[in-house]
Amino acid sequence: MAKKNYDVIIIGAGVVGSMIARFLSRYKLDILLIEKDADVGMGASSANTAIVHAGYDPVPGSLKAIMNVAGNKMWDTLAGELNFPFERRGDYVVAIGDEEVPLLDELWERGVKNGVPGMIMLSGDEVRRREPNINPEVSGALWASTGGICDPFAVVIAAAENAVMNGVTLMLETAFEDFVMEGNRIVAVKTNRGTFGCRWAINCAGLYSDVVMHKAGVRPEFKITPRKGEYYVFDRAEITINNVLFPVPTPISKGILVTTTLHGNTIIGPNAQEIEDKEDRSVTRDGLEEVWQGARKLVPKLDLRHVIAVFAGLRPGGNAPCETPGVNYNKDYIIEIPAKVQGFVNLGGIESPGLTSAPAIAQRVVELLKDAGEKLEEKRDWDPIRPARPRFRDLSPEEQKILIRNDPRYGRIVCRCESVTEGEIVAEIHAPIPARTYDAIKRRTWLGTGRCQGGFDTPRVVEILARELGVSMLEVTKKGPGSEFLARPTKDVEG
């Protein structure tokens, strides 16, 4: 029998699940957010370009286009409330050589149809002036002022944390197994940690959204095909890019782009390789070569010697046809309450621009629930503000002095490349969503992301995690059970 009954169970704590949890936490609902991994935002939300897209790319009339443009407009308020870093720097689609210029016109047309504000066509000279490292053969660019960059981990964590602060229950390492149905109604969700009753289940399972909806008997023909994208990160001391540079798009993706993190590191990628395995985030030799060639077309000055990290992410590409009449497109988002199953909000195929769209998707889910007759009474004490914790490296010397005076742990730098202090690590371990693994701390503080890639900080972080969690250093993991750092004490030899 069900351990506990909830009004709503959200399956999956990526950016979409966390954002929905945060939007629904406003109402008098008992909400459970379950996540199979050891931390929130470990799937598609964990490895992407970190771009808030303007919206000129999706096919006009598709749900993707609508969500993209609507989502984009919500980011300033959201960043203010949830206190995550976000900068609207604008983005460029860059044409190299004369033959690519007509493609910019096509994008312009799409952008106009999608209702994207603030687009400008720039000459090659103007682009070269604004972005000195760009390929000198640039012939023009579409500039969209509403494009932005963010830190996707920070977004997911802030949204989930604000949800938790407002009463949502988050269970990590809790994997969806099946639904319990009564007739055509979902009444409970079975997980590896027991069965939980619910009036509504919301499918936010990303790469696994097909599996989840099939268990509810919905859309048997829907299939997620993971599309792998590989990336390089460069040392910020060696090269900097001011804005997001897209190539002109190809039929299957927005292409291999050159962008910058909020921290100033240049990132190149992704390629787009369709695979079967939903957990295969391995980087391949061929994939890296493809990304390298693609990025050098935009910025020939890139130098492989300055690479500090490579990684791969998976986009949950779907095959849902667009439901707008007259629009021939079959990779659209699904955001629906299916007619044949009760108590089910079904989402699927939320690939790029899923991060941008997440707040609009959450808003749409709220409306779907209202339309289905949920009363959604607002809590009087709902707090939309998620306070930021101090980031030592972003403070002025005066502020740093005060911080250290109040808590000397902020005076001990644990990650030398990114200037992350012990105080920040301890704060994350004891935050509303505790960071209990090395990678969880890394995603929250950017520790270990610099040029030494954790070589210096790892032993120190393992020690701090063990101390703060009250466990042995042998139990400290990189990303959950099975990823322990250490095997045994040096002097304990078996046999």
């Binding site: 985030r281 980087v283 000397p408 030398r416 990303k479 959950g480 250490l486 095997a487």
Partner: protein, 424 residues
């Protein structure tokens, strides 16, 4: 308690830093401070427990910690100050240092000379772009060495080591000594990159297989390393298809090179050589920024610690000489300070000896107009050095006063000269 100003500040207390501090003190520097990020002196030597250090300098074969101890003892005897468990955040070209620690808080201090001795860092997996997954169990050799020798934990039981540099080979023996299985040492070059004696006493002696012209082409395992794929490479270091071999293991150690650590040098405006990755230096180890010196692996990566120590001695000596000269030079300087109704004075400081050669002209502006006769006075405390009469002073009209050569003796006694305007 930290002082506000030091003759020589040494950043890092590995072999280069210890030697620099000792030699600076012996050369005559008065206040010498070492800033070290670890909780104890010695740097990486403390985790290099193997012998092989000191053959050149001491004609002895010492373990790393014992080698360090000899210098640490001298540092203590000579009264060098230390700030441990601390990190330097920034250095300005004017040798102003910002450092923090749990114990000292946020500290700012000035150095007449600085020795950069931050050593080097290890190249990582990303820098050689090994394909595959990103599980736990991939460590640089130095990180593993710290776990095994200092923290007291083995990072795995079955190892593959990439790189036949000295650290890689020494770790192969070390792990074998502690009961682990080292399946293979792989080297992409067709030759050994470490010392031959380490090949004998670390690999051959204990039957650890070495494969030259081989590298790791893939890492397998989602949570923890489960295996690596090794592959033979051609003369252009490209994998030869068909030579792939899966080697089951739980840990991959990387010993694929060291890079001088110069983040702080950049902040201080020190010019770096793109070939070495370290600062350009002169014969005394001075960098492109006057008063900032560098020694050891921060300059270029050495293979023997003894030579790092020698470089440290040289840099310490040069830094002390620079600091002493700087001290003498500033001891001869007198500050010029605006007093009543003076907004600023140019020059701001003056060499007292300059009066031996000629009169010295001061230029200044007043704050408020005074439309009557005034004295513009130059004073050492309350003692008048010289004065000049003016019919009026106005902010829009610059005022000049000459300090005459005959004031030479009066100025020698002064630290600061104040200039003020008084009504006659």
């Amino acid at each position: 308690m930290l002082k506000q100003k030091y003759d020589v500040v040494v950043i890092g207390s590995g072999p280069a830093g210890l030697a620099a501090a000792i030699e600076a003190k012996k050369t005559g520097a008065e206040d010498v401070l070492i800033i070290e990020r670890a909780k104890e002196l010695g740097g990486i030597l403390q985790q290099c427990i193997h012998n092989g250090f000191g053959v050149e300098i001491f004609k002895e074969d010492l373990p790393g910690p014992a080698y360090a101890q000899r210098f640490i003892d001298q540092v203590e005897e000579l009264g060098v100050e230390t700030l441990l468990d601390a990190m330097v955040l920034d250095i300005t070209p004017a040798r102003h240092i910002y450092a923090i620690s749990k114990w000292s808080g946020f500290a700012e201090l000035d150095a007449r000379a600085i020795v950069l001795a931050m050593g080097c860092r290890e190249r990582t997996r990303a820098q050689i772009r090994i394909p595959g997954t990103r599980p736990a169990g991939v460590y640089t050799a130095g990180t593993a060495q710290r776990f095994v020798n200092i923290e007291g934990y083995m990072p795995g039981n079955r190892f593959v080591i990439l790189g036949s540099g000295d650290i890689g080979m020494i770790m192969a023996r070390r792990l074998t000594f502690e009961g682990a299985k080292v399946e293979r040492v792989l080297e992409i070059m067709p030759f050994l990159t470490g010392l031959t004696r380490n090949y004998v006493q670390c690999l051959l002696d204990w039957d650890i297989p070495l494969q030259l012209s081989h590298t790791v082409s893939r890492i397998l395992g989602n949570r923890r390393v489960e295996a690596v794929e090794a592959v033979q490479v051609d003369e252009k270091w490209q994998p030869i298809p068909g030579t792939e071999e899966i080697i089951p293991c739980d840990t991959l150690l990387l010993s694929v090179g060291l890079i001088p650590e110069n983040e702080l040098s950049r902040k201080a405006g020190v010019a770096l050589d793109p070939v070495t990755g370290g600062p350009y230096v002169d014969e005394g180890m001075q960098t492109s920024v006057p008063g900032i010196f560098a020694a050891g692996n921060v300059v270029h990566v050495y293979d023997l610690v003894d030579w790092v120590t020698e470089a440290g001695f040289l840099a310490g000596r040069s830094a002390a000489k620079f600091a002493i000269a700087e001290r003498k030079r500033t001891a001869r300087q007198v500050k010029l300070q605006p007093g009543d109704n003076i907004r600023y004075i140019v020059p701001h400081v003056m060499d007292k000896e300059s009066l031996a050669e000629s009169d010295q002209r001061l230029q200044m502006r007043v704050i408020k107009p005074i439309e009557e006769k005034v004295w513009v006075e130059v004073l050492d405390g309350e003692n008048l050095v010289t004065r000049k009469s003016q019919r009026y002073v106005r902010p829009g009209e610059m005022v000049t006063v000459d300090i005459p050569q005959k004031a030479y003796d009066a100025v020698q006694k002064a630290d600061t000269l104040t200039v003020r305007v008084v009504r006659r």
